[in-house]
């Protein structure tokens, strides 16, 4: 190699050595863009196929009788009354327990935490828990809530199912609570401290109200995840054939996804259509919850 001593090499600029071949490169660009758009279209199309299939299969059997009837061996008389009631009961348990637990833990990690072993342990733990399959939570629920705490929960009950789901969505709520708290400007904290308030007074009076829309958004999204969970409830042994609505926390129950699962697994076409109707109800509830969350989030972002 012949590099002479002057800093700047003397060789003149010779662009002849560059063969950019732009035509070929632009062709590859077009192919690439085609694949990118193609993949997006395919993904959206398949999901549209799924939704349309279910709508077509299920709309025929979706009526008030379907909502207001218990499960039955005869498809034309079967409905989701027990399942819907069970889902509402379980979600009530989930909301009541997970809100204070998740928000409290979020506040602790974001506002009170000092950088010590406990905080770090909790943080590693939470990110690990988020990756544990939901059916494993079901096994935990089976061992802990159904068997060991059986005398309190009443076995395979609303309470056992709800608590299992609480543990499942707790990491999600904690993470979204922390994100919501983080969006509150530090100026608000500083202003509070400057007035002589304690940390908790600042949190309670200023930070929580400011973060509440974000926290609620995360809460709704977490609940919408819990509402469709089937595997953990199957694992704790929620019944699929129940002809009454729950009358208490210790009552046995079925839930909407369990009922759908049961109908899908039956050989008769009539039950498949019932399953599709059940899915429509479930997805409608989910969509409403998501729409609520998005509405909250947008309002929150505008006022920020």
């Amino acid at each position: 190699m012949n590099i002479n001593d002057t800093r700047i090499s003397d060789r003149p600029i010779t662009s002849d050595l560059f063969k950019p071949n732009l035509a070929k490169r632009y062709n590859l660009d077009r192919v690439f863009a085609f694949f990118a758009w193609g993949a997006t279209t395919i993904a959206v199309a398949i999901l549209a196929w799924l939704l349309i299939t279910i709508l077509i299969d299920g709309i025929g059997t979706l009526n008030w009788n379907f909502i207001d009837s218990f499960a039955s061996r005869k498809a034309e008389r079967a409905g989701i009354k027990a399942a819907l009631a069970g889902t509402l009961w379980v979600m009530g348990v989930v909301a009541v327990f997970s809100f204070p637990l998740g928000v409290g833990a979020g506040i602790f990690l974001e506002e009170f935490s000092e950088d010590n072993w406990f905080t770090r342990l909790v943080e590693i733990n939470i990110s690990n828990l988020a990756g544990v399959p939901s059916i494993i939570y079901g096994l935990l629920g089976l061992a802990a809530f159904v068997r060991i705490l059986g005398p309190i929960t009443g076995g395979r009950s609303v309470l056992a199912g709800g608590l299992t789901l609480v543990l499942l969505i707790l990491p999600v709520i904690i993470v979204s609570t922390r994100e919501a708290l983080r969006t509150v400007p530090d100026g608000i904290r500083a202003a509070g401290f400057a007035l002589g308030a304690t940390r908790w007074q600042v949190i309670w009076n200023h930070i929580l109200p400011a973060a509440m829309p974000g926290i609620l958004t995360g809460m709704i999204l977490s609940l919408s995840r819990a509402i469709g969970e089937t595997a953990p409830l199957l694992a704790i042994g929620a019944a699929s054939f129940i002809a009454f609505t729950p009358n208490g926390l210790q009552s046995s129950f079925t839930a909407l996804p369990i009922q759908i699962y049961d109908w899908v697994g039956r050989p008769k076409k009539e039950f498949h259509d019932l399953a599709a109707s059940g899915i429509i109800v479930l997805m409608t509830v989910l969509l409403l919850m998501n729409a609520g969350a998005i509405y909250l989030r947008n309002r929150f972002q505008q006022t920020r």
């Binding site: 990118a36 993949a39 602790f108 399959p133 089937t230 899908v264 989910l286």
Partner: protein, 311 residues
Amino acid sequence: MTVQSPTTQSQSLWRPNRDRSRLIQSVVKFICGAFAAVSIVTTLGIVATLLFETISFLQEVPIWQFLTDRKWTPLFASKEFGIFVLVSATVMISVISILVAMPLGLLAAICLSEYATPRTRKILKPVLEVLAGVPTVVYGYFALLTVTPFLQTFLPNLKGFNSISAGLVLGVMITPLVASLSEDAIYSVPQRLRDGAYALGTTKRETIVSVVLPAALSGIVSSLILAVSRAVGETMIVTLAAGANPTLGLNPLVPVMTMTAFIVQVTKGDAVHGSIAYQTLFAVGTTLFLITLALNIFSFWFVRRFREKYD
């Protein structure tokens, strides 16, 4: 109060009850800390329950038998406990699903981040997030009652329960997850890196492939691992569409049984506590837990090792 207030007049008007405020704060902090500790208790609970029953299981069934048997018949009279039968089904279905989700999800992420207009992105991104939240039992319905009959028109040998439609639909299910998380990673690559590439005379594709994707690599890989981990632990699609026949082998056209499908089968049958079936349940759960844990640890390691720091 140790600090003297400036005038006696203000002394009489200001009576902050600092001790009470501090006490309340301590109590609240303790309660919040206890709530945070629930997550640790959860982990301990999972590990303890899995370990406890698994140890009882291993006292009945030697571990080499668990790992080397070629059949899985724990509920029959002649019991064999070859976990590999279940693992092979789980792996096969997960591989099929990631073969679907990786190209679809990644290309969709690139499309949203780099090609779509801001308006299209603003519409499609929440749609993706909603789709990522569709309950898995819905995908199970789709796999068993729509995709399998559809595929049977091309593949006459396809059984009613099979790995291929479970794997394909599982892939569709995790595609929004891959797309959404990868899009976050790709979108957050600083614009000045793209500018740097364009200023060298690169086309859009070259900028994306050679600069943007490598810069987003850690986020993309972690989204893929998360998707694999989700696929491995997925229950409803495989239970409904892949069947409950523990068969060893990699034929995607016949019924198989995954680890999660076995757990559902046993819990539905109301296994008695202390029975070998009950213990087998937790032995399978432990295997599943260890596999997903290994994936998560690998993902953490990869992100920490390969994350590019841009300030």
